[in-house]
Symmetry: C2
């Protein structure tokens, strides 16, 4: 079950985050995503964190809702099976999603087998050289302005933000190419480099033009929000909250929520500033924060929460993930975007469906991540039309495998 918007079969030959997350996105909207992996698993199959069974929570998180075909990708016959899957008939097939550049999946050779094929290759750099999120992020300037970072002590992000942005752009590009193919019959060879994703974002956010035209790098201002007012504050009982006064509505809510109208007005007068202008709030951020700090420090969290909610302040509390799970109903089965899932070798756990809510459509429940090779026979039969004899011979020759060859299958036999 998925959102059921897309009628498409996608073959995914991938590893790590960007391509698998693109595949997950397509699957959560209804695509039949067939992930092909080396028998025994690819290079991302054992990535931390691991369950005692050996199953990776990283891999099972990113590969929910897909079918799995396990195949020996070193053998010519194995490669031919993947090529056949990508180029199989049906107007809704013929789509490859990959981040594994390999000549036997080159677009031209697929297009020669099937007109109108769509391939989307995610790369590190566009020239084919390697790059990962962290080796791209270091060049974006962000580590020098995050958390008070400097060139001597840059601060890397932990969230793989460029991988995530790349994933959704890749999924979007595939759908755009499918949309064009429906109208014109034309296929597409799409390439998306992680470094291009990051650097184009710098342009879209105005950061690149700022450097070019104003000669300015964004200042390293810790947790202050750039260009307006916002920062984190500690409460009397050791909690920490983030407040945002980006729009003037948010700003006046914050001042009202704190009951500091008079003090803020006095500060405006003494500084000769107009805080209804966001740029002037930004320039006065230290003085404003100095006024707010003792207000928070004098109040327990419960009181802050009540005053802020009553006044519709834009704010949030800092949480660890365990705290989030335990105490925030937005991350619970009470939120229809989440549901309980049973994953082999993992157990029963809360998992995310599609973040997009569509009124009147199924709520977007996503199936669990497959075992490696769980759908090998089904896919070979359905998509390639192989009969059980032919499938059996491929198993006997070690060209394909079923879930029994999953390296965590010992633990799995106990848990499924």
């Amino acid at each position: 079950m998925s959102l059921g918007f897309i009628d498409l079969r996608v073959v995914e030959s991938s590893a790590f985050i960007a391509a698998p997350l693109a595949g997950l996105t397509l699957a959560q909207f209804g695509a039949d995503v067939i992930r092909v992996d080396m028998i025994g698993g690819g290079i991302d199959y054992g990535r931390l964190p691991l369950m005692p069974s050996g199953r990776s929570l990283y891999w099972t998180g990113l590969n929910k809702g897909k079918r799995s075909l396990a195949v020996d990708l070193r053998k010519p016959e194995g490669r031919e099976i993947v090529r056949a899957l990508v180029t199989a008939g049906g107007e809704n097939g013929g789509v490859l999603l990959t981040n594994i550049a390999t000549s036997w999946l080159a677009h031209e050779s697929l297009a020669a087998k099937r007109a109108g094929v769509i391939s989307c290759s995610i790369q590190g750099n566009a020239d084919g050289t390697t790059a990962v999120d962290y080796t791209v992020n270091c060049a974006t300037g962000y580590p020098l302005v995050t958390g008070g970072g400097t060139m001597e002590k840059p601060v890397n992000h932990v969230l793989p933000a460029w991988d995530i942005a790349c994933a959704y752009q890749a999924a979007f590009a595939i759908l755009a190419a499918v949309d064009r193919r429906r109208r014109t019959g034309t296929g597409a060879e799409l390439r998306l480099a992680l470094s291009d994703v990051a650097f184009t974002t710098l342009s879209h956010l105005g950061v690149l033009a700022e450097a070019e035209l104003l000669g300015e790098d964004r200042p390293s201002i810790g947790n202050h929000i750039y260009g307006a007012f916002g920062r984190d504050f500690g409460t009397a009982d050791g909690r920490r909250v983030m407040v945002a006064g980006i729009s003037s509505g948010q700003w006046s809510s914050l001042v009202r929520g704190c009951g500091l109208e008079r003090e803020i007005a006095a500060l405006e007068t003494s500084m000769q500033r107009d805080f209804s202008n966001e740029a002037e709030r930004y320039e006065a951020r230290e003085a404003i924060a100095a006024l707010l700090e003792p207000w928070f420090a004098a109040r327990p969290f419960d009181e802050v929460q009540r005053l802020f909610d009553d006044n519709r302040v834009c704010w949030g509390i800092y949480r660890s993930v365990t705290d989030l799970l335990a105490n925030d109903s937005r991350v619970s089965a009470a939120n229809p975007v989440f549901h309980s899932m049973q994953t082999a070798g993992v157990g029963t756990h809360l998992a995310a469906g599609n973040a997009v809510r569509a009124t009147g459509a199924p709520s977007g429940v996503t199936g669990p991540a497959p075992l490696l090779g769980q759908h090998t026979d089904e896919v070979l039969g359905e998509v390639l039309g192989l009969d059980s004899g032919a499938i059996g011979r491929l198993h006997d020759q070690g060209i394909v495998a079923g879930p029994e060859r999953d390296p965590t299958s010992g633990a799995l036999q106990r848990s499924i």
Copy 2:
């Protein structure tokens, strides 16, 4: 000019990052995106950084390649124009993208005017309460593990990563709904909450299951890459590089690039670890880093670069944005993803086209951000079929406006 994949007209009523970036994405693939704004500009029109003309580099970055209609959104007649644009005829119209919840753009009322309308509303929280990137991020756990962050000193990201992820998901959802509408004729009411975007991502990355099933929060390990080996190092001449040894191929390249095969093997022996296993590299990260640190500190950057490129190491250099622009050809007109753009009130600057490269398709040059109201007359004529008399009356009544009412038009008259 755009990539030309999508044949669609989208009306965007938006502010800040997520919705405008979704609109930009649609525009860069070929959609005709009509941004409607209050005469004089919405709440994001003056956001920093600003040019001396008063034009915002933030706004012009996010609104490239769109058409602009300036309209008095407080007047019933102004609202009716926007509703008419959203629901205008043609099978490729009938799409609204917004993050401004307002009853006069409610889905049901649009659907009553035009069957098959697709609306996508971006929200803070799904219950309609306000949230921005920073007030969602604080609850994700990331500020407690970024840059050595703690609850007492959390580290906010500066890159608005959730807004960006939300933008691309919204653009994807619209296209998926359009794909379904082409097949079935059905419209869609889509809602996407920023907090759902963030928290579902925690599930996709395995972070949520880790907390639930293993009771573990990701550790706060500074610039170390979780789950494998990778960190930043300083060179003899004061440059700083990031290296990644996530896959075993990347790891052996790194060891070979540094010429530390013997030392690393000795460390494995003494620690009784097998560094070909990524989890064991991760556990030994401090000891490995201690071996690498003096190697970097003894060498100038040029030597590191040569050795690393010769050995295909996965690495990158830390740069400020001004440094990036001056010294990295990936961010220059030599990269077809970028091109020179002339934006009124801004001047000539480097700007990003579409990050996705499509072989044989136009290279994805994006037009500049419009002036507010630059396309008012054109859109009213083309989409609503109004004649010049009717358009003139709307101007006279102050219901719509052209670019002369752009608040930066004084500076613009000098620059265009």
